[in-house]
C-alpha cells in the first residue's frame, strides 16, 4: 500500500518537474530570441487585447450560431447518408455510388473553396427565389462539407458492429430496416460519439472561414482590428474565444473515451 502511494507521489513529482523544465525552456528560448521585443509588442499588447475583446466577442456570437445551426442539420443528414451507403444489394448501386461520390467530392475540396463558391456564386446567379444571405450559404457550405466527414464516422461505426448482430436480428424476423434501427445503429452511434464530437470541434473552428463572404465573424473582426492598429493581438483574442469554447468539449470527449474504455475492460473481466 505505502509502496503504491510513494510510486504515485513519485510519478506526480516527475510529471510536474518535466512540465516545469519544458515550460522554462520555452520561456527562455522565446524571451531570449532577438525578436522577442517585437513579438511581444505585436501579439501581446494588453491594452489592445482589452479594447478589442468586446467587439470580437460580439462577432463570435455569429460563429456560435453558425456551428449550432449547422451541427443540428449535419448529425441527422450524415446518418442518413451513412445508411444510404450501407444499403445492401445491386438495386441500390446508384444510390451507393452517389453517396460515395458526394463524400469524396466534399471531403476533397477545401472548405474555404466550398464556402467561397457557394457564397459568392449562388447570389451571382441572380435568381430572386434563391436565398441571398451569407449566413444561409455559409451554413449550406459547412453542412455539405461536414456531412461528408461525419457520414464516414457513422459508417465506420456501422461497420464496427459485428455482422452476426444483423444476422441474429434478421433470423428473429426483423427486416433490414428494423435491424438497422433497433440493433445496429444504437450500438454504432454510441461507439462513434467521441469522433463525432471531434468533428464538431473541427466545425466550430471552420466557422472562422465564413468571414471570407464578407460577414463579420470573430476572425474577420480580429482582422479588422489588426489592420486598424497594425497589431496582431486581436488574433489572440479570437484564439482565446475559440479555445474557451472547444476545451470543455475536448475534455468531455476525453472523459467519454475513458469511461468507454473502463466499461469495456469491466465487461471483459466479468
Amino acid at each position: 500500500m505505502t509502496a503504491r502511494v510513494s510510486r504515485e507521489t513519485r510519478a506526480v513529482a516527475i510529471a510536474l518537474l518535466s512540465t516545469a523544465v519544458l515550460a522554462a525552456a520555452i520561456v527562455v528560448v522565446a524571451t531570449r530570441s532577438p525578436g522577442w521585443g517585437a513579438f511581444r509588442a505585436y501579439f501581446l499588447d494588453w491594452a489592445i487585447y482589452r479594447d478589442s475583446f468586446p467587439e470580437i466577442l460580439h462577432a463570435f456570437w455569429l460563429n456560435v450560431k453558425l456551428f449550432l445551426v449547422a451541427e443540428v442539420i449535419i448529425l441527422p443528414a450524415a446518418l442518413f447518408l451513412a445508411v444510404l451507403r450501407s444499403l445492401p444489394g445491386p438495386v441500390f448501386f446508384p444510390i451507393r455510388a452517389l453517396a460515395i461520390a458526394y463524400a469524396d467530392l466534399f471531403r476533397g475540396v477545401p472548405t474555404i473553396l466550398v464556402i467561397s463558391i457557394l457564397g459568392f456564386g449562388m447570389p451571382a446567379l441572380g435568381l430572386s427565389w434563391l436565398p441571398q444571405s451569407e449566413f444561409f450559404w455559409a451554413v449550406v457550405a459547412l453542412v455539405l462539407v461536414y456531412t461528408a466527414y461525419v457520414s464516414e464516422v457513422y459508417r465506420s461505426g456501422i461497420d464496427s458492429v459485428h455482422a452476426s448482430q444483423d444476422a441474429a436480428a434478421r433470423s428473429l424476423g426483423l427486416s433490414h430496416g428494423q435491424s438497422l434501427r433497433l440493433v445496429v445503429l444504437p450500438q454504432a452511434v454510441r461507439r462513434v460519439i467521441p469522433p463525432l464530437l471531434n468533428d464538431f470541434i473541427g466545425l466550430q473552428k471552420d466557422t472562422a472561414l465564413v468571414g471570407t463572404l464578407g460577414v463579420v465573424e470573430a476572425f474577420k473582426q480580429a482582422q479588422i482590428d489588426q489592420s486598424a492598429t497594425f497589431n496582431g493581438t486581436p488574433y489572440l483574442v479570437a484564439a482565446t474565444l475559440f479555445v474557451l469554447i472547444t476545451i470543455p468539449l475536448a475534455r468531455f470527449v476525453d472523459w467519454l473515451v475513458a469511461r468507454d474504455k473502463k466499461r469495456q475492460q469491466a465487461g471483459r473481466a466479468a
Binding site: Y42, G211, G214, V216, I224, S227, F230
Partner: protein
C-alpha cells in the same frame, strides 16, 4: 591618383550624357536634385546589398495607383515598373530625389498584411494606399503624406442609393468595404448604418458583392471609386464623397520602425511638394477623380 582619374572620367561621361540628353531636347531633369544632404545611399540602411532601392507594393496593383500593361512578372493587372499610375510615379520621384535611377529601383510584391508584421521587412519603403494613424505608427514608420484622401461611396445607377444626397440618407443601406481599409472605419464610425456592414478580403470580392447586389454601396477612397465605377462595375456610379472631420486622412509611405530612410524620404517628399511634382503627378494620374458631390 588612379581613383581621381576614374572619377574625372566618370564626370566627363556624365557631362557628355547630360549634353546629349539636353541636345535631344528631352527632359533635363535627369541631373536635377540627385541626392539630399545627409542622405547618402550608403547611409540609408538599404535592404539590397548591391545598393538597389527596394519598394514594396501589393499585387495586383490597381489603377489609378499603378498603371501600364502587365509586363514584369509576377505583377498582375498593371506594372509598378512602368512608372505609370500615381503611386508608381511618386515612388520613382522619391527614388530620384534620393539619387536612384529608374534602373536602381526594384519592386517587391508585399501583401498589405506583410507591410506591418513584425520582423525583417522585404522592402525599404512600401507604397499601396496606406493611411496614417497614430495607432498604426506605433508599429511602423510613416512618411509624410503623398496624397490627402477623401472616402467616397460607389453604388449602381438606377438603384435607390444612387440618388442619396446625405450621410443620413445612407444609413438604411447595406454597405461594404475592403478589410484593412479606413473605409470600414468610416462606415462604422461616421455613417453608422442600421444593418452591419460587410467586409471583404479583396477588392475583387467587394466589387463582386456590389455587382450582384449583396451590398448597395461600396465605400472606398475617391480615386479608387472612380476606377470601380468606370471599369469594374459597368453600371457603377460614384454617389458622392465625404469630407473628413478633423485631421485629413493621408496616404504615407510605410517604412520599417526606426528606418534610417524615414527622415530622408520625408525630405524627398517635402521637395516634391515644394517643386510642384506632386501636384503635377496628381493632375496627370488622378485628375478625373475629383468631381463628386460632397455628402454631409
Amino acid at each position: 591618383m588612379r581613383k581621381a582619374l576614374s572619377t574625372s572620367l566618370a564626370l566627363a561621361a556624365v557631362t557628355a550624357l547630360v549634353v546629349a540628353v539636353s541636345a535631344n531636347g528631352r527632359s533635363t531633369t535627369a541631373t536635377a536634385a540627385t541626392g539630399i544632404p545627409g542622405c547618402a545611399k550608403d547611409k540609408l540602411g538599404l535592404l539590397d546589398k548591391a545598393g538597389m532601392l527596394t519598394i514594396g507594393a501589393d499585387n495586383p496593383a490597381f489603377h489609378p495607383w499603378f498603371g501600364g500593361d502587365e509586363k514584369t512578372k509576377p505583377w498582375k493587372f498593371s506594372d509598378p515598373y512602368s512608372g505609370k499610375g500615381y503611386e508608381s510615379a511618386v515612388a520613382y520621384a522619391v527614388a530620384k530625389q534620393l539619387g536612384f535611377s529608374k534602373e536602381q529601383v526594384k519592386w517587391a510584391v508585399t501583401p498589405f498584411n506583410n507591410s506591418f508584421r513584425p520582423g525583417k521587412k522585404s522592402f525599404d519603403f512600401y507604397i499601396t494606399q496606406v493611411s496614417y494613424s497614430p495607432q498604426r505608427a506605433k508599429a511602423v514608420d510613416f512618411s509624410k503624406g503623398y496624397y490627402f484622401v477623401n472616402q467616397s461611396i460607389v453604388g449602381r445607377k438606377g438603384k435607390p442609393i444612387a440618388s442619396v444626397r446625405s450621410i443620413n440618407g445612407l444609413r438604411k443601406y447595406t454597405l461594404g468595404a475592403q478589410v484593412g481599409t479606413t473605409s470600414y472605419d468610416f462606415i462604422v464610425k461616421q455613417i453608422r448604418p442600421a444593418s452591419s456592414p460587410k467586409v471583404y478580403d479583396t477588392n475583387d470580392a467587394a466589387v463582386q458583392a456590389l455587382k450582384n447586389g449583396r451590398i448597395d454601396g461600396l465605400v472606398v477612397d475617391l480615386p479608387t471609386a472612380f476606377y470601380v465605377a468606370a471599369v469594374q462595375v459597368p453600371d457603377g456610379r460614384v454617389v458622392g464623397q465625404f469630407r473628413a472631420r478633423g485631421a485629413r486622412e493621408r496616404f504615407g509611405l510605410v517604412l520599417p520602425k526606426g528606418s534610417k530612410l524615414t527622415a530622408c524620404a520625408n525630405r524627398a517628399l517635402d521637395r516634391l511638394w515644394a517643386n510642384g511634382t506632386i501636384k503635377n503627378l496628381q493632375r496627370i494620374w488622378l485628375a478625373h477623380a475629383t468631381g463628386a458631390p460632397v455628402l454631409k
